[in-house]
């Protein structure tokens, strides 16, 4: 950095000059201990030999990845074919997470728009209302949802008493229930970033476009969306990534009938299988998928900024 160039936030002060690494040091320690070290450990474990009933033997092995991708039949002696079991579990989780993201976007965008277009004084109240349910633990909220929608729960009792339905809706233990749980769990992660983007939007741009005879849809697509896009993408990532590893909603609301990525990995460590290298390998594969999603996002961001 050239001498005399402004250093630090806003470049208004030189007092932090040359001490950047010292200030970053705590973050590096925290990232190192709590992020990099566990991920590295996981990467190493995924290439080790499994010990029966949990644990590892320190011998290099590709068995975990082999088990993930190749099917050798129940007894392990058939010629290998592509293993669809785990790909299927991953695909189901990705599909669930994607659907939850779309639902959150469809509801979250208008919500954020609504809040951002209120008077500045009342916005904070609306935001406050959005976050209130999140003061309660996720587990408790998911169990409450289960109580609400079960066949003998208040929702069904209410509809039955009004004779809107004659039989309980049978919502519990369905994919719909899982979606409802994910949607309810992660909606604010969509609303808040979009709100932040919409709040910065200059509404005179819409007026200018309207003066130039742009239709409502044209204004939305060509004027508003490009401006709030980073908020939408950030919201989508914040909803998609945790939904991908979610296991509370699938277990409690979906009846745990099928493995999701989260429960498949859990089973390797806490369940009967006790196959740590395989659990680590599945985690690494999941991590890779998430990294790819984030990289695509980062590249798009760079392109957008370069424009």
């Amino acid at each position: 950095m050239a001498a005399g160039a402004p250093v630090g936030a806003g470049g208004t002060s030189n007092i932090y000059k040359g001490s950047g690494w010292k200030l970053l040091f705590p973050s590096w320690v925290i990232i190192g201990i709590f992020l990099l070290a566990p991920v590295l450990m996981m990467a190493v474990y995924s290439f080790l030999t499994k010990e029966f009933r949990g644990g590892v033997i320190w011998e290099f092995s590709l068995n975990a990845y082999d088990q993930f991708f190749f099917d050798r039949g129940l007894f392990g002696d058939e010629p290998p074919t592509l293993e669809w079991t785990y790909i299927g579990i991953f695909w189901r989780s990705i599909w669930q997470a994607g659907l939850a993201t779309i639902t959150c976007l469809l509801i979250g965008f208008p919500t954020a728009w609504f809040i951002a277009t209120r008077k500045p004084e009342s916005r904070s109240i609306w935001l406050f209302l959005v976050t209130i349910p999140y003061w309660v633990n996720l587990l408790i909220r998911t169990v409450s949802m289960k109580f609400l929608i079960r066949d003998t729960g208040p929702l069904n009792e209410f509809l039955l008493s009004l004779h809107v339905i004659n039989e309980p809706l049978g919502l519990i233990n369905t994919n719909f229930a899982v979606q409802l749980g994910l949607f309810y769990s992660y909606l604010p992660f969509m609303v808040l970033p979009i709100y932040a983007a919409v709040e910065r939007y200059d509404f005179s741009l819409s007026e200018a476009a309207a003066d130039l005879y742009a239709s409502t849809w044209t204004i939305l697509w060509l004027v508003i969306l490009p401006v709030v896009r980073p908020g939408i993408i950030a919201g989508c990532i914040l909803v998609f990534v945790p939904s991908l590893g979610a296991f509370l909603a699938p277990d409690l609301l979906g009846g745990a009938k099928t493995f999701m990525i989260g429960s498949l990995i859990e089973e390797q460590f806490k369940g009967n299988a006790g196959n740590w290298p395989f659990g680590a390998a599945a985690s690494m594969i999941l991590l890779t998928i998430v990294m790819c999603v984030l990289l695509v996002y980062a590249r798009n961001q760079n392109k957008a900024e370069a424009r």
Partner: protein, 342 residues
């Protein structure tokens, strides 16, 4: 997570904070399995600060100890086959019968057990059975066969909860088929695989710690369950009957074991001795509604517990312990389970 539900809901941490306690005792226990008053009583009598963490399956207990928790707990409460596994893994300390003044209170039939011959590392905690219960409002037919779960009648289809552990669910399925546990016979394993695949179509959910809740709430009309849990569900208002299937049921015994590298070995032995006192053993039974393996509990039991239908199977009821399979066989059962939930 289902695991989270149990451990969060009932995790009893830092139970008795005796400010001037002489020593400590760290327990690793199942959820909802010991009355708080009994822990308080022990803490007071021996001036010991008691802490307890909970787990919800034998496998979760093993995983946690393997992942580095060995050395931080004094006692744990594994089931029969898990005692053997932990013993084989070298996770248990041993004691002499003379170190426990109440050792003689152990019922004779539970002293020389296959999973810990002569009781060198463990004492009985409670024993009971695993079978299933059926809501009598929903199904009015005869209740005597595992076919109600594995080949469900029309009334129960789509209303069945099964335990979310491979060991219990696949063992009951094996009993239904009449095939041995830990078999490596290919045709038998294929038969087992086909049975659970087909039966799953009639199952509403998999869940262990919700096994009681789904029967009480009516989410499930039939559900695999442990005997004492079924008694509790009945007490909470579910119109259910615990079934003693003609094909057989699972019998199990949970045991208090002395863990290797226990930080408070002396207090652990005091606690084990305390639990062998008939009055204290009866307090656990009155709470958990299983059966103590201790002599002389009769006079301390509540009559409704002593006479509960769940704890009094017919004299000729067949029951088996779950076996710990060797590795080459266990992977086949794991594959069937994964295949079932894929």
């Amino acid at each position: 997570m289902r695991k989270l539900l149990a451990s969060t809901a009932v995790a009893l941490l830092a139970l008795t904070a005796g400010a001037h306690a002489e020593g400590k005792l760290s327990i690793y226990h199942w959820f909802e399995y010991i009355p708080q008053e009994l822990l308080d009583k022990f803490a007071e009598e021996y001036d010991v600060e008691v802490t307890m963490d909970t787990f919800d399956s034998n496998e979760a207990l093993l995983a946690s100890l393997k992942a580095g928790k060995l050395g931080s707990y004094d006692v744990a409460v594994p089931g029969d086959y898990m005692v053997k596994i932990m013993r084989d893994e070298g996770m248990l300390d041993t004691f002499e019968a003379s170190e426990l003044p109440n050792f003689g209170n152990i019922e004779d039939k539970w002293v020389d057990v296959e999973f810990d011959p002569g009781r060198k590392s463990s004492i009985p905690y409670q024993w009971g059975s695993t079978s299933f219960s059926v809501n009598k409002d929903v199904y009015k037919g005869k209740l005597d066969s595992l076919s109600l779960i594995f080949d469900a009648p029309a009334e129960l289809k789509g209303k069945i909860n099964v335990l979310d552990t491979a060991g219990e669910t696949l063992t009951l399925a094996s009993l239904y088929l009449g095939i041995p546990q830990c078999t490596s016979d290919r045709s038998q394993l294929k038969e087992l695989n086909a049975l659970v695949q087909k039966a799953k179509g009639d199952w509403a959910s998999f869940g262990s710690d919700v096994a009681k809740d789904v029967l009480v709430s009516g989410d499930a009309a039939a559900g695999m369950i442990w005997s004492g849990f079924s008694a509790k569900a009945r007490a909470e208002g579910a119109n259910i009957e615990y079934v003693f299937p003609k094909e057989g049921m699972i019998v199990w015994m949970d045991n208090v074991v002395l863990l290797k590298d226990a930080p408070n070995r002396e207090n652990a032995l005091k606690f084990m001795n305390f639990l062998l006192d008939p009055e204290n053993a009866a307090a656990v039974t009155n709470y958990a509604q299983y059966t103590a393996g201790v002599k002389g509990v009769g006079e301390f039991l509540k009559p409704e517990v002593a006479n509960s239908p769940e704890s009094n199977p017919p004299a000729d009821q067949k029951g088996v312990f779950v076996q710990a399979c060797p590795e080459d066989v266990q992977v086949l059962y794991d594959a069937i389970w994964t295949n079932l939930k894929k």
